[in-house]
Structure formats: C-alpha cells, structure tokens
C-alpha cells in the first residue's frame, strides 16, 4: 500500500458534508419510521457514514455502485437525490423506482447506482459484470460492490473475487465490517481474523483499514480506485466500523454485549471528525452548523415531498415486468 495521502482541506470538508447528509438522513429515517408514518424494513447505517463519504469523493458520477439493503448511506454519498429516495421508501410514484422497489432495491443509474440487492453476497457477481463492461469499452470507470462482513462467508463472495482476479476487472470489493451479521457476532461465523486476509486466496491486494477514520479510509479507497483505473485489477477493502442501531429497525440488539456497543458508540466518528475539522482550522463551528442546518432543511423538504407524492396507480402492478421487444 503506497503511503497514505491526506485529502486537501476542500476534500475534507466535502467528506464531512457527505457524512452530515448521511447521518442526518438516518436520524430522520428512524424518527419518521418510529412515528409510524412509514412502514418498511429499515437497516440503519448509523456509525458507518465515514466509509461511503471517504470512498465517494474518489469517484465520479460515471463510476458504478452495486450495494445492499444496508446501503442508503452508500447511495446518498454517490449522489442519490433525497427527494427520490424518500418518495421511494414511502412507496410513492415519485420514488426512484416508482415505489415498486423500496428501500432494498433503490436504483438510480443517473449517478451510477445500478443495483441494490436484498440478498447477502449478491452485489459482487453483478459488480463484476459491470466492470467487465468498462474493461471492454475502456471507459475507465470503476465499479464498487459493497457488502458486509458476514457476506464474506457466502459462495457468491468467493466466486466473484476469483473471477475478478482472473479477469483483472476494474472493481473494488468494499466490505463494511460492522462486526455483526444480523444477530451473529463476527467470530462465531467467520473463520479468519481479518477478511482482508482472504484477498490472498485470490491473488488480490487486500486492505484492512479503520473505516471510521476519514483519512485512512480516503487513502485506502484512493489506492483501490487508482489501481482499478490503471487497469491493474481488483482490490478487497475491509473497512472496520460498527452498527449503532441493530440489524433492522425494531431490533433491540438484545444479543449484543451493551459494553461493546457503548464503547463503539462512544467512539462515534461523526463528532470526532467534526471536532477535528475545527481544531485543524479546516472549518469553523458556523460553517459546519450551516452544513447541518442545510441537511435538515433538505430533509424537511424531501420528507414533505415524499408524503405528498401519490401512490403508484394500480396499473403499475403489472407493468415493467417485460419490455417491448425492439
């Protein structure tokens, strides 16, 4: 791994801006769902904001993302518009997928968000295919497949990393290791200390990084993106993080040692990075407060827009099953 590169001030601020958007959106989502105004399976990503924020500043709108049910943070960082997001999770016709996909299948090709899957491990085989397309057309685009730690134990992970390596595909396998797979602790299901060590089984570089450290995550992502763009093949990144609010909304985390959770929540990367930006003089309290206020304003707007949007017409039930043969 080449020596870490510190993002410049503007980039640091941009990473924070995205973290603020992600955090604000999760807080608002849990509030709205908790109030009963919306009903859906919601997989909170609170605590994991740094990973997509620091990754996405290394990507362009043309680069591709294939993410999972716990992927709204990945998508917002990649540019998914708030209104389209909220209308979709509200099941309304103005949503990204006209309400037919929902939170587990958000899709927004305009920003390279190609697939969101609800099946553990299934982001990876599809990401390979998109990357194969970039390799064929030579468009220099990078495809990122995100997945969780427990997903590294399913067959699709293995087949995908092997194929990507043999075909030298411009793809990044980004494992967000939040130490839990639903109710099961990492070590009880996973036979290796570090998922990044599995990269060696595919002759692929593996990076183990603190996914809650914006600079370290930025450097890791940048290294992998540069490798992919240079046509030097795939990278497996294991970004260490933690899931603050259980597996899915309503899960009280009863199976978790409260001490473990408390320790991680105490190390919440958001306030830490916020304070650091001020300490380093990258921004002052007013700047950051303004960013956060702006997020709240946009959320107010998006939620209102979503709830005011109509449900899809019943005729939508059986459309989009097949297209028109050319």
């Amino acid at each position: 791994m080449s020596k870490p590169q510190i993002p410049d001030a503007a980039t640091q601020l941009e990473i924070f801006r995205r973290m603020a958007l992600l955090k604000g959106n999760d807080v608002r989502s849990r509030k709205v769902i908790g109030s009963g105004r919306l009903m859906m399976p919601y997989y909170s990503y609170r605590g994991q904001e740094v990973i997509p924020a620091a990754l996405s500043v290394n990507l362009t709108d043309e680069d591709y993302l294939v993410t999972i049910y716990r992927g709204i943070h990945d998508m917002l960082a990649k540019g998914l518009p708030l209104k389209d997001l909220w209308a979709e999770i509200a099941g309304r016709v103005d949503g990204t997928c006209k309400g037919k996909g929902g939170p587990m299948h958000l899709t927004y090709p305009k920003k390279g968000i190609m697939v969101t899957t609800g099946i553990v491990g299934s982001s990876m085989p599809i990401a390979n295919g998109i990357a194969w397309g970039s390799q064929l057309s030579g468009n220099g685009r990078v495809t990122v497949a995100t997945f969780g730690d427990a997903a590294s134990n399913i067959g699709a992970f293995h087949e995908s990393l092997n194929l990507a390596s043999v075909w030298k595909l411009p793809v990044i396998f980004l494992c967000q290791n939040n130490r839990w797979g639903e109710h099961t602790a990492y070590a009880k299901a996973t036979s290796v200390a570090r998922i990044s060590d599995r990269a060696a089984a595919y002759g692929m570089p593996g990076i183990h990084v603190d996914g809650n450290d914006p600079f370290a995550m930025y450097a890791a992502a940048r290294e992998a993106v540069e490798r992919a763009r240079a046509g030097e093949g795939p990278t497996l990144i294991e970004a260490m993080t933690f899931r603050f609010y259980g597996h899915v909304f309503g899960d009280a985390d009863a199976y978790m040692d409260p001490a473990e959770k408390a320790e991680h929540v105490a190390a919440d990367p958001y306030p830490i990075f916020r304070a650091r930006l001020i300490a380093d003089g990258v921004a002052n309290e007013t700047d950051l407060a303004a960013i956060e206020a702006d997020v709240e304003a946009r959320l107010d707007e998006a939620v209102a827009f979503a709830l005011a949007s109509p449900f899809p017409d019943l005729s939508e039930l059986t459309t989009d099953v097949f297209g028109e043969a050319a």
Partner: protein, 343 residues
C-alpha cells in the same frame, strides 16, 4: 416492519391462547426432547443470537445445547449440506432457510441431492431432513423477500411440501415432517405467525398429505392453504350473504396433495376455486385444476377457477403489494361468478 422485526413487534398483536411461533417452537422442543437425533441449525437460531430472528427457536439451544442447536454462517449451501450429511448418518436435522427466496442459493443441495439421494443410491440412503422457511407478502419486504415458490419443489420427485395455516397444523405438520424419512419443506407465513389460534396438544401429529375441511358446504369447493386460507375464510361470510354455501379445504400439504379429500368435495359441489399467494401461471393451482378437470370431465358445473398472485415480482408499495395477492373480496366475487355461471 420486516421478517426480522416480527419478534419485536409481537407484543403489538397479543397472542392468546397460542400462535404459530409458539406451536413450531413447541414442536421442535418436543421432538428434541423425545429424540436425541433431532438437530436444529440455521442463521441466528441459537439463544446467544436471540433464538432466531422471529424467536421460533428461542430457548432450544439453552435447553438442548449449542451442539444440537447451531447458529450457522450465512451459507445456505453449507446449511443444507450439513443437514443432508448429518441425516445420512442417523440424525434428523431441521434446517432453517430464513426466507423462501434464499432457497435460490441452495437449490442444488435441495433438488440435486436431498431429493434424489434415496433414488440414486437405489434406496441405500435416505435424507430425513426438514427445511423450515418463511415467506409471504404483507410486510412491504419487496421483490426478494416475499415469494411463494412451493410449485418448484412440488415439481421435484423426492421432496414433500407443507404449509400450515394455524398453530395446531403448524405443530402437527412439523412433528410429522421430523418423523418423515424424506426431505420435507415447511413453509411458514410471516403475517400469520402471531395470529391467535387454538393450542396444539403435545405429541399430536397432522399426517402429511391429508387436507382439512375448514368449512363444510355444498355449492362450491374452495381449496387454499397458508395465509390465503384466512382470506378465503373471511370470504365465506360474503358468500353466505349471497346465499352460497362454500366448502373450504385447507390443503395443508401441497406435495403430495390430498386428491381424495378434494375430489370427494368437488364430486359433491361440482365447482372448485383454488386460491394461493404464488403467482398464477405455472403455479400450484394449475396442477390441481388439471387433475380436477380430467377427473370430473363433463361433470363440473363450472370451469375450475384459479386465483394467485398477479404475474410480477412482489412490489414494495403497500397499495400494489395488497393488490398483488388475492383478497377476501375478490375471492368472494370470483366464487359467486363461478356458482352463478354454473347455475
């Protein structure tokens, strides 16, 4: 709300005197207590992991030990493979594939192996495993978490498929599935889990392949199972008001289905409507309709009706999700049309 939160949401829908969650938990506990060969495995099913995402297996690992009740990695091929292997050496594993859509990553183990080893070995080996899986629309879980795929398994020789609609059947069918010398898939419906129902008597069995007359009638036979049985039940009132006496059959077992009970009823009513949540084309209803149309050629008062999910993936948006599956009102209307048509 989602599959994973049914457990937490439970208190909301009070459960007296029993429900399907309790019934299956009791069936597993009774079977494990009676026979040390019975094992349980699946994702998050042991107590350190909360005893299952819906709490179905809660208490089992504490009572019988984690060597017999094992939480697994997210590896469905390894889960079914482990169940098959253990069953080949005398154990009776009950494996959970959390949601029915996830059977798609384990089809090789289920279809090419579990269902076929007895035959391919010329009867030297057999695979007495149970595969528990949950599914069903109703919780806005979307296109990859709601499918009913029983028709796939019914089309495979060597595996049986059951789908209880109430606690008594859930208990009795689970016990029979565990007793069975061959693979049995038990389909559990998510929205039905906490619906109150009569408590099963410990030790009872509901035979696989035997349907139940849920309501006696004379004008039309309605065949259903799982959650749709309840929609049909609700439709009975509307039908009664319309002066129609419908005989409602809870199929309980989809493969092998109880042709005798269904045919006896249709011989009496001369009409049949099949209702399931799986999409209609090439669905379970097709086989039943084909058999009845042949068996009662020239004797039916109306064509056999089929109602299933509309032919599309299960949508997320609530109004669409609701419209996707047959509901009591549409079921009643369809039944009335069939009766009037064949009047």
């Amino acid at each position: 709300m989602s599959a994973e939160t049914v457990a937490e949401a439970a208190p909301a829908i009070a459960t007296k005197p029993s429900n399907i969650v309790e019934a299956i938990n009791m069936a597993l506990a009774d079977a494990m207590a009676e026979d040390p060969a019975v094992l349980v495995l699946g994702e998050d099913i042991a107590d350190p992991e909360g005893g299952g995402v819906v709490g179905i297996t809660r208490g089992l690992s504490t009572r019988f030990g984690e060597h017999r009740v094992r939480s697994t990695p997210i590896s469905e091929q390894a889960i079914i493979g482990a169940a098959i292997g253990a069953s080949l050496v005398g154990y009776k594993p009950v494996a959970e594939i959390m949601l029915m859509n996830f059977t798609t990553v384990a089809m090789d183990m289920i279809v090419n192996h579990a269902a076929k080893l007895r035959y391919m070995s010329g009867g030297q080996t057999n695979v007495p495993i149970v595969i528990r899986t949950m599914t069903g629309a109703g919780y806005a879980s979307g296109g990859q978490h709601s499918d009913y795929l029983e028709a796939w398994f019914a089309h495979v020789a060597g595996i049986k498929v059951v789908a209880p609609s109430n606690p008594i059947d859930a208990y009795g069918l689970m016990r029979s599935a565990i007793d069975d010398p061959d693979p049995v898939m038990v389909i559990e419906n998510l929205p039905l889990y906490r619906i109150a129902g009569e408590r099963a008597v410990s030790g009872t069995r509901i035979p696989i392949g035997k349907a139940r007359i849920a309501a006696a009638g004379t004008d039309i036979t309605i065949v259903s199972y799982s959650r749709m049985l309840h929609e049909c039940q609700t439709a009975l009132a509307t039908l009664a008001e319309a002066g129609i006496s419908a005989e409602l059959i809870d199929l309980r077992t989809i493969a092998p289905w109880d042709q005798e009970t269904v045919c006896t009823s249709v011989a009496k009513t001369g009409r049949c409507l099949i209702v399931h949540e799986a999409v209609t084309p090439f669905g379970p209803g097709a086989e039943i309709a084909a058999i009845l149309s042949d068996r009662f050629f020239g004797k039916l008062k109306a064509p056999v009706g089929r109602m299933g999910g509309s032919f599309n993936p299960v949508p997320f948006s609530r109004p669409l999700e609701t419209a996707h599956v047959p509901g009591a009102q549409r079921i009643a209307e369809t039944a009335i049309t069939l009766v009037r048509a064949g009047a």
